[in-house]
């Protein structure tokens, strides 16, 4: 608002005289006492400011010991876990085969004392027959023929046969 607008508002007839009278009356009779102990006021205020500055200076230190240290501690722990896993845990001798894809085929056997499991891998062009329960493998079976004692496992039609003891 510009000064002449101030005056225009003050000079509204309703307010004119009464407002001026009230204003001068208040200025005359409504004076606040002076600030008591002004020097102590400044002293106390400066002390509070100094305390505030000390608090502000401490804040970055606290921050450093919170988030960054947590992050470093977390990273260190993960590194230790990786080291322990890499060096202390022994690797399985079959771990290289873990990734190969094998298909379990259906097998049938007459003798209930013998269990058989058949694996076939297309990638390696390999079929494995796993037999459990036989005390010994007949000699002519390894040559591709039928077993002599004919206990029921039929091995005909396989290109390759290997006994896996699984020990």
């Amino acid at each position: 608002m510009k000064p002449f607008e101030d005056k225009a508002f003050e000079n509204v007839p309703e307010q004119d005289e009464a407002a001026l009278q009230l204003g001068s009356f208040l200025r005359e009779n409504y004076k606040a006492p002076p600030l008591p102990n002004p020097d102590f006021f400044n002293h106390q205020l400066m002390q509070r400011i100094e305390a505030e500055k000390r608090t502000v200076e401490k804040k970055p230190t606290r921050f450093f010991w919170r988030l960054p240290r947590l992050a470093w501690a977390g990273g260190f722990c993960m590194g230790m876990v990786a080291l322990i896993y890499g060096f202390a845990v022994p690797k399985s001798p079959y771990s290289s085969n873990v990734g190969s894809v094998a298909e379990i085929l259906n097998t049938q056997i007459d003798d209930p004392a013998i269990t058989s499991t058949l694996f076939h891998s297309n990638d390696h062009k390999l079929t494995v027959l796993w037999l459990e329960g036989w005390d010994s493998l007949p000699v002519n079976t390894l040559e591709g023929g039928k077993p002599e004692n004919d206990r029921g496992a039929s091995l005909e039609g396989f290109d390759y046969f290997r006994e896996e003891t699984g020990s």
Binding site: L45, R48, K53
Partner: protein
């Protein structure tokens, strides 16, 4: 007058820039310059010496903390008054001092002029003092009828003589709102005090 104001504002800005670099001595100078005005303004709004002291302290402390955010878009004292007025109005709201008939009995504690005890030769005569105290009580009671915002406008305009645009900047409202509040506050005070000031 305008030139004086510009010189004062320029000096304030120099002190402010030193404060922003962490110079507490510069802030001490600003406090020396404005503590009396700020205290008087708060005292006239709440009528209690101790609370006015505390609110003045808090206002200056807030100003120090916010000094880094002061861009110089307004005069320093306008910015300082804004901080102080907001604190005082919030304080009054928390105390549920909302005007319209409420009367704070603590007001009577601050009636005695502090200079009276230290400068005996300027003491008014007993009947003059009684009369002055009586007038002060009547004014306090009338001002207590006003809301915090209306008190702020009347104190800044009538006691401090601030122009409307500065009052609007301090209270963060339009000049129209300032005029409206001033009109309403004057009406209230006139109806409460007319017999006094017409008799005088």
């Amino acid at each position: 007058m305008v030139e004086d104001r510009r010189i004062r504002e320029a000096a304030d800005m120099e002190l402010v820039s030193r404060c922003q670099r962490g110079d507490t001595q510069a802030f001490n100078e600003l406090v020396n310059q404005y503590r009396g005005k700020v205290y008087a303004m708060i005292y006239n709004m709440i009528h209690n010496e101790q609370d006015a002291w505390d609110l003045t302290q808090d206002g200056f402390l807030k100003a120090w903390k916010s000094m880094g955010r002061f861009q110089g878009q307004s005069a320093f004292y306008t910015w300082l008054y804004r901080i102080v007025m907001n604190s005082t109005i919030d304080w009054m709201r928390q105390r549920k001092i909302a005007g319209e008939g409420e009367f704070d009995e603590e007001c009577s504690l601050g009636q005695v002029d502090a200079r009276a005890t230290t400068v005996p030769h300027s003491d008014p005569l007993p009947f003059q003092k009684m009369e002055r105290d009586e007038i002060r009580k009547r004014i306090d009671a009338a001002v207590d009828q006003l809301s915090p915002e209306h008190r702020a406008v009347i104190v800044m305009r009538e006691m401090d003589g601030m122009p409307y645009d500065e009052i609007a900047a301090v209270l963060d409202c339009s000049t129209g709102t300032v005029m409206s509040r001033l009109f309403y506050a004057r009406k209230k005070l006139q109806s409460a005090l007319r017999d006094l000031y017409e008799a005088i």
